[in-house]
């Protein structure tokens, strides 16, 4: 087990290195002179030269790559061109909003999705089952930002039940929750669809296995079988999916954040792209990617812990 974990963690090192190189080359290939792009049209030649020197832009490629990687390792992601703040502090300020959104959405999706999935399994082939299958199809197919727009239209604008923008007043938990509801629902819809289907399929597969048949033959009541034995084993891939899903949400709740104007990581990156604020774009994407990689790593290791056979593949 330990060997697997160490191997897995060691593999991250070249992967992250590659990520850094890829990110660096993205900004390297940006057309135009980065310094004058960043400084704008009114920059004087001395200003441009100064910025060039500060950003090491006059050095050869590999030196710049080296500076970049060293900076990242030290935690220095540069400064925002637009506001002058340190990129790392901008990101740290935006992370809580994104994390809360991701965790709440996934939590809601897990609760509702797993419950619906188990429900559909128990009443298999009944109208409930077909209803859940239909809901899950719609949930999976409708993208989160489409659901967000529709929810915004109906509940926030027409019915005026929920706030349209923002994340709520600081310090006022009730207000924050009020602002969270619509974004969380729009993100959760897709995952509810996916999780309910996954739960149903895994449960059906597990219920078909031999030890369940033995328990039925022994006369153990059905509900007992469902919840105690079947669900425990079915939970394995579900937990993995939840872990991967949180990682994905951390990296990708971009559109929902923009639609509801929540100041999270996704909005930070997109606003920086609009403003051509390269350091923020680089730093933001880096952090989103690292979080994604971390979530994948944890999901992989927990899956190997629960089902040791994985380690030998």
């Amino acid at each position: 087990m330990l060997k697997y974990v160490i191997k897995r963690i060691l593999w991250i090192v070249p992967t992250v290195l590659g990520v850094l190189i890829l990110l660096f080359s993205l900004t390297y290939f940006l057309p135009g002179d980065p310094a004058s792009v960043m400084l704008g049209p009114r920059a004087t030649p001395e200003l441009i030269e100064d910025l060039n020197h500060r950003l090491h832009l006059d050095q050869p490629v590999y030196t710049r790559l080296g500076y970049y990687i060293l900076g990242v390792l030290r935690g220095d992601l540069g400064e925002s061109v637009w506001s002058g703040h340190k990129v790392s502090s901008l990101i740290v300020n935006s992370l809580p909003y994104t994390i809360i959104l991701a965790v709440c959405s996934m939590g809601l999706a897990a609760l509702v999705g797993i419950f619906l999935g188990v429900f559909a399994t128990i009443y298999k082939e009944s109208i409930i089952d077909h209803l859940v299958t239909g809901i899950s199809l719609v949930g999976v197919a409708v993208p989160d930002f489409v659901a967000a727009c529709l929810l915004l239209l109906f509940f926030a604008v027409h019915l005026n039940l929920f706030p349209v923008l923002g994340a709520g007043e600081a310090g006022n938990i009730a207000d924050k929750i009020h602002h969270l509801i619509l974004p969380v629902i729009s993100l959760a819809i897709g995952w509810i669809g996916y999780l309910s289907r996954l739960t149903r399929e895994t449960m059906l597969e597990v219920l078909d296995s031999d030890y369940i048949r033995v328990e039925k033959a022994f006369g153990i009541p059905a509900k007992h079988i469902h919840y105690k034995y079947a669900l425990k084993n079915a939970v394995i891939p579900i937990i993995t999916v939840i872990g991967l899903g949180i990682g994905k949400l951390l990296g990708g709740a971009v559109l929902v954040e923009i639609i509801f104007n929540r100041p999270g990581l996704g909005k930070l990156v997109v606003d920086a792209v609009y403003a051509r604020d390269l350091p923020v774009v680089q730093g933001g994407i880096l952090i989103a990617t690292l979080l994604f990689v971390l979530a994948n790593l944890i999901a992989d290791i927990s899956y190997a812990y629960i089902d040791p056979r994985i380690q030998y593949e």
Binding site: W11, P14, T15, V16, G18, V19, L22, L23, L26, T27, F29, L30, P31, L137, V138, V140, A141, V142, P143, F145, V146, C149, L150, L152, L153, V157, H158, K248, G251, G252, V254, L255, I258, I259, G266, V269, V270, V273, Y274, V281, I285, A288, T289, F292, V293, N296
Partner: protein
Amino acid sequence: MIQENIANSSPKKSNYRKKNSQIKKIAGILRIILHDYRGQIGSAFIIAMVVCAIFSPWVAPFDPYEQDILNRFASPSLTHLLGTDYLGRDILSRIIYGSRVAAMVSFGSVCFSAIIGVIIGVIGGYKEGRKLDYAIILVFDIVRSFPQLILALALVAVIGPSVRNLILALAFTAFPFYGRLARAETLSVKEEDYVKAAKALGATNIQIIFKHIIPNTLSPVIVTGGMDLATMIMYEASLSFLGLGVRPPTASWGIMLRNGLTYIHASPYMIIWPALTIAIAMIGFSLFAESLRIALNPKERKLHE
């Protein structure tokens, strides 16, 4: 003379037989798909979208760029079946023309990423354990580490927004998935007897790869591709929504959704119709992909019969 005729006719016959059986296989799969309610609905949607995309000038009632400022934010009426947007353009026509972009981007990026991914993945799997294989796995993992939308976002920001660049960027974010799939399939296929026999008979690596390995990796790749068609429509809409996809005034469902959001207080129809269209398109493609998956998997076929 007779012997020459016989010698000349056998190769032709075997080619014919091979093509005939392949056509029969494909026809069989299509039949399974069309007998399933999911396949029926899904295929109907796909055909509708492709028809709209190809024949937009004939299907759409208005010119999607034609502005009618006096008539903006109009509700649905007999002339403008879905209403007009903030510049008075007919929403229905813009949606029909939007299917062009959606179809081009989704089909294009899926084809691209599948082809590139499969080729690289098969090469990696074939040379399993060597440095090339590790390098290929590393490249796959590096690209897979990025959240797809964010990577596509950054790429388009660098190379500029246009349909062609969208296709390339999305294909780049997706190729590792096909690569991993193809590589895993290759690992098992290359141990099969017919591959070993071909090798013993002196076939070159390239011949083996193209004649034996790649055809056998196609099944899961096609299933993934089907599902990806839906996902790519969503990514195209997302990027266009962010203004990093197709440029206005080109009609794209994502751009229409964005405009609808900006003018949310003026007219609900600017949001509703693009939102419904994206949702319905994705449902249709997902249904089709689902029935494709069932058709291509013998196990699933038994389950669902």
